[in-house]
């Protein structure tokens, strides 16, 4: 037995010794370092209510859209405005300069600026000014020999038509007469001058333009009936003639402030979000004891308007705007709606959107509750 025990002890000692020496701590698993994903909890309003700004800018209290650069005005641009066709014709330059020079009266200058599209309207009115108006047409003349005819015809025709309008002409004539005499009074004149001009604009503008094109097209066809393709070029020329816009890269909303965090465009920034609306609706629904069991359902639909101060307190007694009745169930409904608003009173709404909830109109409709 002793032999067995000694051998056994020796065996165990050897095994344990071997195990303790050779079986070291198991090597750790190679775990790839996985970076934890940052997760933001984003309210719906963050997506539905975005202020215009820069997506990468830091957040600021006051939103500001991306600053825009004023597009450079290209001296000899081929395309003007929204034109899809490239025209070789430069846009007709504004007529401002020349009349100013010729008449040597600075104040009347602004009036032609507003007018250019309805050239014909103002031209007939002012007896001395027609020359500046016609000067617009003469400029393209050197470019194209075909056009002058329609232009002249267009100008010629409307003139007799509008001459019958005596009323606007008179003040103008008088005013210009005064302007010519007294340059100091010119300051007053521009104020008066645009007003009478503005009245006739809408009606004659359409009527005047329509005949223009017909007249201009017809003579062209008569004159150069051989080539149909000329129509297009003529159209371009005409549009170039009519185009008074300066060649520029298009307008943009101006913002000189540095952009703050925001989206590409505004998507209803200050409105109450759907969540906030729901919360308000639920709160009011809880405060509202619904008038029960009446057949006249229409009078039970009540709209209540009330004003809140920035702390969410009622500023005045809620007013029934729509629905309800003076007596009977309608009155009960109206009163219950008003009571509901008063009972719920201080409303917990986001203070930064106070502008939107300073005045609230709530529709109480019992049919929604059942």
């Amino acid at each position: 037995m002793r032999a067995g025990l000694t051998t056994s002890v020796i065996l165990h000692a050897v095994a344990l010794g071997f195990g303790l020496l050779s079986l070291k701590a198991p090597s750790a698993f190679d775990v790839a370092d996985v970076e934890s994903l940052p997760v933001d909890i984003v309210p719906v309003s963050a997506l539905t209510q975005i202020q215009e700004g820069d997506k990468k800018a830091t957040m600021r209290d006051k939103p500001a859209p991306t600053p825009t650069k004023r597009p450079d005005i290209v001296a000899d641009a081929q395309k003007t405005g929204d034109n899809s066709v490239d025209t070789d014709k430069p846009p007709t330059p504004e007529a401002k300069a020349k009349p100013v020079q010729s008449s040597s009266a600075p104040p009347p200058a602004p009036t032609p600026v507003e007018k250019p599209r309805e050239e014909d309207v103002p031209k007939p009115k002012e007896a001395p000014k027609p020359p500046p108006a016609t000067e617009v047409a003469p400029q393209p003349q050197p470019n194209e020999q075909v056009k002058p005819d329609p232009a002249k015809q267009a100008e010629a025709k409307p003139e007799p038509v509008k001459q019958p309008e005596p009323t606007p002409q008179k003040p103008d004539a008088v005013a210009e007469a005064i302007a010519a005499e007294q340059p100091q009074q010119d300051v007053q004149l521009p104020d008066q001058a645009p007003a009478p001009d503005a009245r006739p604009k809408p009606a004659p503008a359409e009527t005047a333009k329509a005949p223009e094109r017909k007249d201009s097209d017809k003579p062209v066809k008569e004159a150069s009936s051989k080539q149909a393709s000329q129509d297009k070029s003529l159209d371009d020329k005409i549009s170039a003639l009519l185009n008074k816009e300066k060649a520029s890269g298009g307008g943009a909303k101006r913002s000189s402030q540095q952009a703050s965090l925001g989206g590409e465009k505004n998507t209803g920034g200050d409105k109450l979000s759907q969540n906030e609306m729901d919360a308000l609706r639920q709160k009011l629904g809880g405060c509202w004891s619904i008038p029960a069991g009446v057949d006249d359902a229409e009078t039970l639909k009540v709209s209540v308007k009330f004003h809140l101060d920035p702390s969410g307190q009622l500023q005045d007694r809620p007013q029934v705007v729509k629905g309800g009745a003076a007596s009977g169930p309608g009155r009960t409904a109206a009163e219950s709606a008003v009571r509901a608003v008063q009972k719920c009173a201080p409303f917990n709404l986001p203070s930064d959107k106070y502008d939107t909830w300073s005045e609230i109109v709530v529709n109480f409709d019992p049919s929604d509750m059942f």
Binding site: G4, S8, L20, K24
Partner: protein
């Protein structure tokens, strides 16, 4: 986020470190199982040696017994020595035989039964020697896993309590305690598996030896019975 003190990732997980980390109950279980394993292997080694010797001695005795040597001479050589196995049975039977005839027992009727009884007794003693302590192997084989499991359960219980106290469920905190607890089960299995295998082998070996010795005792009994009958006939004649 607050930096919660984690279990040292450098904590050694070697077997010795695991043992030292364990609680005293688990340590006790582990030590007990280690002792059981040592005793098991001691028994295994002892039994293997004993059975091998027994097989050799049986072979040698059978060789001598069937060599045609007279039983008287054989008895004389064996009587003084310490005998095992078949030799012990032979000596027991021959002693009974001698006693009966030296004292001049007249009736041989009871002699046969007495010799058989003496041989059975010797056989039982031999078998006891052979099969002694095999029961311990059987016990270790069946109980050691449970003892180890007990240690594991206790260890896991304490480690879970520690985890609850540290308020951190990261795996690096949970793992060492469980690994340490599982060491107890590992040691239990380490002790139990050899014990079960050895028990099965040794008990079958012992039964083979027992069959051989029983066969010898039957044969020897037959031989003696024949001689008794011859002597009775000789006396009668």
């Amino acid at each position: 986020m607050e930096n919660i003190a984690l279990a040292e990732p450098t904590a050694s997980l070697s077997i010795w470190a695991l043992f030292m980390q364990a609680g005293w109950v688990v340590k006790l279980v582990m030590l007990g199982l280690l002792g059981a394993s040592i005793w098991t292997w001691a028994i295994i080694v002892d039994k293997l040696i004993a059975y091998a010797r027994m097989r050799i001695s049986l072979n040698r005795f059978e060789q001598v017994f069937w060599s045609g040597q007279s039983l008287e001479e054989l008895y004389r050589t064996l009587a003084d020595r310490k005998t095992t196995g078949m030799g012990a049975i032979f000596v027991a039977a021959m002693r009974e035989w001698k006693k009966s005839f030296e004292k001049g027992a007249k009736s041989p009727l009871g002699l046969q039964t007495r010799i058989d009884k003496a041989m059975d007794l010797a056989l039982t003693r031999e078998m006891e020697k052979l099969e002694g302590r095999l029961g311990f192997l059987a016990t270790i084989g069946s109980a050691a896993p449970f003892i180890g499991l007990f240690g594991t359960v206790v260890g896991i219980m304490t480690s879970f309590q520690a985890i609850a106290a540290s308020k951190n469920t990261s795996l690096s905190v949970v793992a060492p305690g469980i690994a340490e607890a599982l060491l107890a089960t590992a040691i239990g299995l380490l002790a139990a598996i050899p014990a079960v295998i050895a028990y099965n082998k040794l008990s079958s070996d012992a039964s083979k030896l027992a069959v051989r010795m029983e066969g010898f005792s039957d044969e020897f009994s037959a031989i003696l019975s024949r001689q008794i009958d011859e002597k009775v006939v000789a006396r009668a004649a």
